[in-house]
């Protein structure tokens, strides 16, 4: 989940650290906030052009490494009320629980297989996880213009301690404001997934993409996430990010 | 006693064999007849037909007033067992039964009471001169003795007709004489009609009537 936030919240720059790792570090620093809230609309465009829409409300407390988040579906009717609670940890995989109102039960979701798709979208669970700077090795692979903006092209490889579905990924970070503009994930040289960060806007001083477009090249389908009613540093209580709260608010 | 009208007997095989060819014959009560002829001339077939062991292909047979045509097996058997006694060349005694039992066999088959059977069987064995050998098995007897037992069995109910197929054929000439003498003696004493199939000219000569067959036909019928 937090990974998503990380990408969403990349913001404008300080100085020009030329070394790849420090670029990524800087990008992460600039997106650090106390909390966040938004309403997301997800459109999954299948290979045959069929569109499925889901909506959710998202709240997050804390940032990178130790954040907690709740995602509650509001549409379509068959999933309305289903909620997801995520506890991120700096040192290990996140804990996730899901609440299903029809059963009045929560269940733990073990994120065991990182390549599993996130609830029918083109995101994988891994794509949505927080990607900590320290878990990868970086190499600057040049500069390219993406969506009209000059960006660093950085190659990231997971460290041995980190299990990833991608053997290699490419990240494009805008030189002018350190915002992520694109990410590509590869497995054994083959492009699996591309994420594009579009409609960048400065929200409460943070450069934020209002539209994310993910293309899954293995399935040839596309997911678009629109972010509305975005707020940073809203007042949220830690009690809202517990299982009890999850059950209560059904 | 025995009437045959145009009796034929064919055997169907790969090649049809005509064993008897339209034979007509009449034998009166009390006659003693020898049937002679070379092998394959139809002697035995004739005897089997008269004895009801076989059925003619065509023609009519009447035994002691009973027509054999068109009756079922069991009726045929009943006629056979009441009117006919058989004497075979190979005796056809049952090896596991004693002399007495062999002789008693037809009587048992008729369902006689045991006591009466026992008495009759003894009487018959004494008649053929084997009164002392009642409990012997056939294999313990000489050929002549066996044939005597067979004759005793054939006489069990004192049938009006006695049929003998080469009765001496399996015996040495001396014993053969004895058996023939016995048959003649019985013929005289019991007054039965006797038919003997033989190729022994001596036996044939000793019979009052001699019928010669060749290729299924009667070629000679001579009373002597």
């Amino acid at each position: 989940m937090n990974r998503l936030c990380a990408w969403l919240l990349l913001a404008a720059s300080v100085g020009a650290a030329q070394e790849a790792r420090s670029i990524v570090e800087e990008a992460q620093r600039r997106t650090r906030t106390q909390s966040q809230r938004y309403e997301g609309t997800l459109e999954v465009i299948g290979s045959k052009g069929k569109i499925a829409v889901k909506r959710w409300r998202y709240e997050r407390l804390g940032s990178h490494g130790s954040s907690k988040a709740v995602l509650r579906f509001t549409a379509p009717p068959e999933v309305k009320g289903v909620a997801l609670l995520v506890h991120n940890h700096p040192d290990r995989a996140s804990d996730q629980w899901m609440w299903t109102p029809a059963l009045q039960r929560d269940r733990r979701i073990a994120l065991q297989d990182r390549s599993t798709r996130f609830f029918g979208t083109d995101f994988s669970f891994e794509d949505l996880e927080e990607r900590d700077v320290d878990q990868f090795d970086y190499r600057l692979a040049g500069e390219e213009t993406v969506d009209g903006a000059l960006s660093w092209k950085i190659e990231a490889e997971p460290k041995k301690t980190r299990a990833s579905q991608y053997t290699r990924s490419l990240i494009w970070i805008r030189k002018d404001n350190y915002a992520w503009v694109q990410m590509e994930g590869y497995r054994g040289g083959r492009l699996i997934r591309r994420v594009r960060y579009l409609d960048l806007e400065l929200v409460q001083g943070i450069w934020t993409a209002r539209r994310l477009e993910v293309t899954d090249f293995t399935r040839n389908s596309r997911t678009v996430l629109r972010v509305d009613k975005l707020e940073y540093n809203v007042k949220l209580s830690p009690e809202e990010f517990t299982l009890q709260a999850l059950r209560r608010e059904s | 006693m025995i009437d045959l009208v145009e009796v034929s007997r064919h055997f169907d095989g790969k090649r049809q064999v005509v064993a008897l060819d339209r034979v007509s014959l009449r034998i009166d009560k009390g006659e003693m007849v020898a049937i002679v002829g070379p092998s394959g001339s139809g002697k035995s077939t004739l005897l089997n037909l008269i004895g009801g062991l076989d059925r003619p292909t065509a023609g009519e047979i009447v035994i002691d007033g009973a027509r054999l045509n068109g009756i079922d097996d069991d009726e045929l058997t009943r006629i056979r067992r009441d009117k006919i006694g058989f004497i075979f060349q190979f005796f056809n005694l049952l090896p596991t039964l004693s002399c007495l039992e062999n002789v008693a066999l037809p009587l048992h088959l008729r369902g006689w009471p045991r006591k009466r059977i026992e008495a009759r069987a003894r009487e018959l064995l004494e008649l053929v001169g084997l009164g002392a050998r009642l409990d012997h098995l056939p294999e313990e007897l000489s050929g002549g003795e066996r044939q005597r037992v067979a004759i005793a069995r054939a006489l069990s109910v004192y049938p009006p007709i006695l049929l003998a197929d080469e009765p001496t054929g399996n015996l040495d000439s001396h014993t053969g004489e004895e058996i023939l003498a016995l048959i003649r003696e019985l013929h005289r004493r019991l007054g039965s009609t006797v038919l003997i199939v033989t190729h022994d000219p001596q036996i044939a000569a000793s019979c009052p009537r001699r019928i010669t067959l060749r290729d299924g036909r009667i070629v000679e019928d001579r009373r002597q």
């Binding site: 379509p76 | 076989d54 058989f86």
Partner: protein, 849 residues
């Protein structure tokens, strides 16, 4: 070979019927063998395929017996670093409630993780559900079914299926239809996938899982992961590859397979006698031919070869037919065994048609040929030893040489002595089975001598009945021992088998009845699953209290049954309120003091085990046994051994307090209800149904119904063996027909004489019939006698294999039925040969030399 074609073929053609009978003997034997094996394999294979398909990519499965385990275990499993994916599963077979659909395998899974193990290959469904497990999860009434099931029930996506859940009837909605093949073919396609929490609710499982399916992290050997999981979970859990379930299933079936194999071997063995008989006859009949061949320069080896090749050809023909027949029988048997397993053991499996497979075909063909050659061995040796000079002289040849008989008697004496030594030698399985074989061998060796003696004894009797026909029939038996004795031996064996089996079955029925009388005394049984052997659904213990408060109810005992793996074999653990039990049930004690064992068990200081558990697991009074539970091994001493037929692999009674503590659960699958005096079970049953049926899945059975059900299951268990025995008897009867057809040929002249001196056809028939009856009678006498011995070994074998101690009770009733029955059958088998005898041409018979 050429000799066989030249000499053997015309002979076989001349004796078409006998050849056919011989072939039929082997064919039936092989057929039973093939059918049993194919059916067994189909059942086992069906189970394994289902396990395999359901397991998907799972490499290991974590289980804790039939009780399942709390949900928390999943996290412990997922925390093991060697584990890549671990997903929970609930698996249960339930009645669909749809007419003609039988059972449905319900698979409860957690869709969020499950797709990494199982391919849900959906061909239709709401678009969303194919992609989004969320939709499936959010709607707990979702069901994915296979196309096969959907087609059979004319279901489409969006259709509703009513299913009876523990919370009353619920509508489920078909949200996806799986493509056939792979996973969708498991359990013959009668498969429905639902959310695991929905399944928990439906089956009354509480917050428990049945199983966790595990995929190992890449690059980690499965064994290492297995060891790591075992270390993490402790000894109360089984961590095994999916295939291990097949092995457990197999071990559960062991007793059944064993019985069935023994009787199929018997059938083959009896078939061998027919071959032996036919060849023995052929050798005597073809003496002259053999003599001529020998005179023309054939060696002994060639003569033996001739007969052996003939027997091999007959064997091969028989085996071929047997395989075909067996294949057909296997289909029926497999369905039968499948039903049996489901009913008796309550185990989910789905037979998908019995396929024979090349190895089975090859081995049964080999078996048929081998049996045939073996059976022809002695006759061909006899043929090789024919003296050409003697053979060409006509004479008697039927009588067994004195020497031959003496040699047999000596061998019999030696074999009897050896059998007795084995009997005395003690308890080892080898000695026991060797003794069994030797005892049977003794009987076979003595059969000719005994049958001769009996024929001689029979002669006066038959003679008295019918002076001519009877005497001749008896003489025919006496003077043709070769013709008679093998058939008598075959008959003896098959009847001994009947007696052994009937005695065993009778004793088992008796003790089951006695057990039911003493132990099964509640007035009503409330059952969650609808069948007394299925334990898929469970009640919360609170239901027992509610019912106990009802008017007229004196006591309710909540009982939970489930299997756990003990010593590699599934055994039943029965959790009951022992104090209550003690007040109502006087168990049949094998060892220990009943009150004392009740007291200790009720206090949670011991367990009471069934007698078969004690015997099969080698457990004695006072031993401490360790039962696996999710909280670790439950170590308790055996404080009593009682008779109990709950489970064929044995059962262990523990108090519910122990169950709650160690299994962390308080459910029941059966409530045993005792009524106060004066209340009618029928009324109380009605009231229970009125009060609970709407909100609770339950079935109420009265005492008589449960008893009937148990007896029905017992019947079913024996059913297959009944059929096999019927085949064995049929084979033996073929032997009678065979012997008689030979007999009427041998006796052709005799029968001709009989007719020529005035025997009516009926009288000829009588003598043939009487010979048949004579064979039947001798076979009966020997068979009933050998049956006494066989029963002894059967009783002992039941004790060894099934752990059941049953009394030795000679089944006089069955024996009394067998006498007229067998004689009638013998008579019936003589009808056709007798007709053939009277239809022969008289003149030929008389001239026959």
């Amino acid at each position: 070979m050429r000799l066989a074609r030249l000499i053997g073929w015309p002979y076989a053609r001349k004796h078409v019927l006998r050849t056919c009978l011989t072939v039929a003997g082997i064919a039936l034997g092989v057929a039973v063998f093939v059918a049993m094996h194919a059916a067994n394999r189909a059942v086992l294979g069906g189970f394994e395929r289902t396990v395999d398909r359901i397991a998907g990519a799972a490499q290991l499965q974590v289980t804790a017996g039939g009780f399942g385990f709390p949900e928390e275990v999943l996290e412990r499993v997922q925390a093991v670093p060697e584990v890549r994916v671990a997903v929970p599963v609930i698996e249960a077979v339930v009645d669909t409630g749809l007419a003609g659909q039988g059972s449905l395998l319900i698979l409860g899974v957690d869709m969020t993780g499950d797709r990494s193990l199982r391919q849900y290959d959906l061909e239709s469904g709401e678009e969303a559900i194919i992609d989004d497990p969320l939709v499936f999860l959010a709607q707990p009434d979702s069901l994915i079914v296979t196309r096969e099931f959907a087609e059979r029930n004319r279901l489409e996506v969006g259709h509703r299926i009513p299913l009876m859940t523990m919370e009353g009837p619920k509508q489920f909605v078909v949200r996806g239809i799986m493509r056939p093949g792979g996973f969708g073919k498991a359990f013959g396609g009668n498969l429905a996938v639902m959310d695991i929490y929905a399944a928990q609710k439906m089956l009354g499982r509480g917050r428990r899982f049945d199983r966790i399916d595990v995929a190992v992290r890449e690059g980690v050997p499965v064994e290492r992961c297995q060891a790591a999981l075992r270390a993490a979970l402790g000894p109360g859990f089984e961590v095994e590859p999916p295939e291990a379930r097949g092995a457990h299933f197999e071990s559960m079936l062991r007793g059944y397979t064993f019985t069935v194999n023994i009787s199929s071997l018997f059938a083959l063995f009896i078939g061998m006698f027919i071959i032996y008989n036919s060849f023995q006859i052929a050798v005597t009949e073809r003496r002259v031919e053999i003599g001529i061949l020998r005179a023309l320069g054939a060696t002994q080896g060639q003569i033996r070869g001739l007969f052996l090749v003939e027997s091999a050809l007959l064997g091969a023909t028989g085996a071929g037919l047997g395989v075909i027949l067996g294949g057909a029988m296997a289909q029926l048997s497999a369905a039968y065994i499948g039903g049996l397993l489901e009913d008796v053991y309550g185990v989910a499996q789905h037979v998908e048609g019995a396929e024979l497979g090349a190895p089975l075909i090859a081995s049964s063909a080999a078996l048929g040929v081998l049996a045939s050659v073996l059976a022809a061995w002695i006759p061909s040796r006899a043929a090789a030893r024919v003296d050409p000079v003697q053979a060409l002289q006509k004479g008697k040849y039927q009588v067994l040489s004195v020497g031959e008989n003496r040699a047999r008697r000596r061998a019999a004496a030696a074999s009897l002595a050896a059998a007795l030594i084995c009997l005395a030698a003690g308890r080892s399985a080898e000695a026991f089975y060797a003794g069994y074989l030797l005892a049977v061998l003794t009987a076979i060796l003595l059969a000719p001598t005994l049958s001769l003696w009996l024929s001689k004894l029979l002669r006066p009797l038959l003679r008295w009945l019918r002076p001519v026909e009877g005497t001749l029939a008896a003489d025919s038996l006496i003077h043709a021992p070769r013709r008679t004795s093998a058939t008598v031996a075959a008959l003896m064996l098959s009847l001994a088998m009947v007696i052994g089996f009937a005695g065993m079955a009778g004793a088992i029925y008796d003790s089951v009845t006695q057990w039911m009388d003493q132990v099964l005394n509640p007035d009503l049984f409330v059952n969650a699953s609808g069948s007394i052997s299925r334990r898929n659904f469970t009640f919360p213990a609170s239901l027992a209290h509610e019912i106990e408060r009802m008017e007229g109810v004196d006591q309710v005992q909540a009982v939970r049954h489930a299997r756990v793996i003990f010593g590699g074999v599934p055994v039943s653990v029965v959790a009951a309120d022992v104090e209550k039990l003690a007040s109502k049930v006087r168990r049949i004690v094998i060892q220990g003091d009943l009150d004392e064992m009740y007291r200790l068990t009720a206090q949670g200081r011991g367990v009471i085990v069934s007698d078969n558990f004690a015997d099969l697991r080698g457990v004695r009074l006072g031993d401490t046994i360790a039962l696996p539970s999710p909280s670790g091994l439950v170590r308790l001493p055996v404080v009593g051994i009682t008779r109990d037929y709950t489970d064929q692999q044995g059962s262990v009674l523990v108090d519910r307090s122990v169950y709650r503590r160690w299994w962390q659960e308080d459910s029941a699958d059966v409530l045993r209800i005792y009524l106060k005096p004066g209340y009618s079970p029928e009324r109380v049953r009605q009231r229970i149904l009125e009060q609970f049926a709407a909100r609770q899945r339950l079935f109420v059975l009265d005492n008589a119904e449960v008893r009937r059900e148990i007896l029905r299951l017992t019947d079913q268990w024996f059913g297959m063996t009944y059929n096999q025995i019927a085949v064995a008897v049929l084979v033996a009867v073929l032997g009678i027909v065979n012997t008689l057809t030979v007999s009427i040929t041998d006796r052709r002249r005799e029968l001709g004489v009989l007719q020529s001196v005035g025997g009516l056809r009926q009288q000829v028939r009588h003598t043939v019939w009487m010979e048949a009856v004579g064979i039947g009678l001798i076979g009966l006498v020997l068979g009933l006698a050998l049956g006494a011995v066989n029963l002894y070994y059967t009783v002992e074998m039941v004790h060894r294999v099934a752990g059941l101690r049953i009394d030795y009770q000679y089944p006089w009733g069955v024996a009394a039925l067998l006498v007229p029955g067998m004689l009638l059958v013998a008579l019936a088998s003589a009808l056709w040969p007798a007709e053939k005898a009277v239809r022969g041409r008289l003149v030929e018979a008389l001239e026959y030399e």
